[in-house]
């Protein structure tokens, strides 16, 4: 069975890849906070923000097309909510647009809000994608744990990441088998067959979890996973963080 590999570019080498994971998470979070909470109807501010995001992508040597593909695939969801914005904002400074028999009031503020929300979402998606593809998932989780995310949650998520591919494999096999055997049939039949598939998957997953737990117990598991975290924050990392923070503040003040 084939799976999409999310951290496909996580083992290449660049300035962004070499950043300490904790610093990298903080730096990207800072960027996202600045962009996602940019206020008002001032659209010019998105030009320097976009330049910052694009330069981060170029620095990381991850193909720009790869990141843009992610953005495009998420765009329908973003547009679904925002597409009405130009038409429902306050009437001041508005015009009427006719489209065949349909006449809609369009406001400039509404259009500005629409562009701003779409820009914010797209830039944030680009940043999250870049964070994900330039860090492998295991070190991302370890860094999050070091940043005081509850270790219980981190352990559960690492288990989940371990078994998600196993379970998806099982599900894909079951679906393939079902499709081989059932041609035609009513929609209700297919719905029922797929629901039973999920039922079977649940039972298998539950039994697997019990077996995993027994195996862990017999190896002396006492509720804690111990691992070595040996990456240290260097001056270079701190310089990057400070530099980024200064740039973002300057953009916010003068943008």
């Amino acid at each position: 069975m084939e799976h999409a590999f999310f951290d496909e570019y996580s083992h290449s080498d660049s300035v962004i890849h070499r950043l300490e994971p904790r610093v990298k998470i903080l730096a990207f979070l800072l960027c996202i906070l600045f962009i996602a909470f940019a206020t008002g109807y001032n659209l010019k501010i998105f030009v320097p923000y976009s330049i910052t995001v694009i330069s981060l992508i170029l620095l990381s040597k991850v193909p720009v097309a790869f990141i843009f593909k992610r953005v495009v695939s998420l765009l329908p969801f973003i547009l679904m909510v925002t597409i009405f914005l130009p038409f429902i904002q306050s009437v001041e400074g508005g015009e009427k647009v006719s489209w065949g028999a349909l006449t809609l009031p369009v406001s400039y503020n509404g259009i500005r809000l629409f562009v701003s929300v779409v820009m914010k979402s797209c830039l944030s998606v680009m940043l999250t994608t870049l964070l994900m593809v330039s860090t492998d998932f295991a070190s991302l989780l370890k860094a999050l744990e070091k940043l005081r995310v509850p270790s219980l949650l981190i352990m559960i998520i690492s288990f989940m990441y371990r078994y998600v591919f196993v379970l998806e494999d099982e599900l894909m096999k079951m679906r393939q088998a079902k499709e081989c055997r059932s041609v035609g049939g009513s929609q209700w039949f297919h719905l029922k067959a797929q629901a039973n598939m999920l039922g079977v998957l649940f039972l298998r997953a539950y039994e697997r979890a019990e077996k995993v737990y027994l195996a862990m117990c017999s190896r002396g598991f006492d509720g804690h996973a111990r691992s070595i975290y040996d990456s240290k924050i260097k001056t270079r990392d701190m310089l990057f963080l400070v530099f980024l923070a200064v740039i973002l503040t300057l953009i916010k003040l003068y943008g």
Binding site: T128, P150, I156, I157, L191, L198, Y206, M216
Partner: protein, 205 residues
Amino acid sequence: MHIPDGFLSVKVSAATWVISLCGIALCLKKVTARLKDKMIPLMGVMSAFVFAAQMLNFPIFAGTSGHLLASALASILLGPYAAAIVMTCVLVVQCFLFQDGGITALGANILNMALVAAIGGYGVYSIAKKMTGIIVATAMAAWLSVVLASSVCALELAASGTVALTIVLPAMALAHALTGGIEAAVTCLIINFILKVRKDLLYKP
């Protein structure tokens, strides 16, 4: 229903993060008290199950398809608190791996789909179970969990000033009242299957 970054205002984002963090802390405490060490592998594998279940597309009508939210399913099988943790893990992974839902909006997404949908859904289930059968209670819980989660999502968007409440609430509630029907049907079929095969696995409070 996953809210991306940039849709929520600072206030709504901060408030939902605080509520979600408190909610998760409470759930972690409750589940650890019940399951002890076993919770780590069990919750991990169950999160993987919910994640895989959400990937499976169901035919709706005429070529369109949708997938489960599975909050109600998880809460009927594992109990409300465990379900909230499972959904939280699924949302965190979706946020980082697929950029489904933004980091600043993660608090809101956890509130909608993990806390409101799972715990609210279980509340409905446990009340309705006493009055009717398990299957009817399951249907009500599944349908309501989807509608509740989408309504809270609409409220958050409106409170942020992104969209007007009078438009977004009816639109979200209506769209999800329809998809909630599929959610209810599929959840009932799954619970019916498990009742036949391994009745002992359903959550007993």
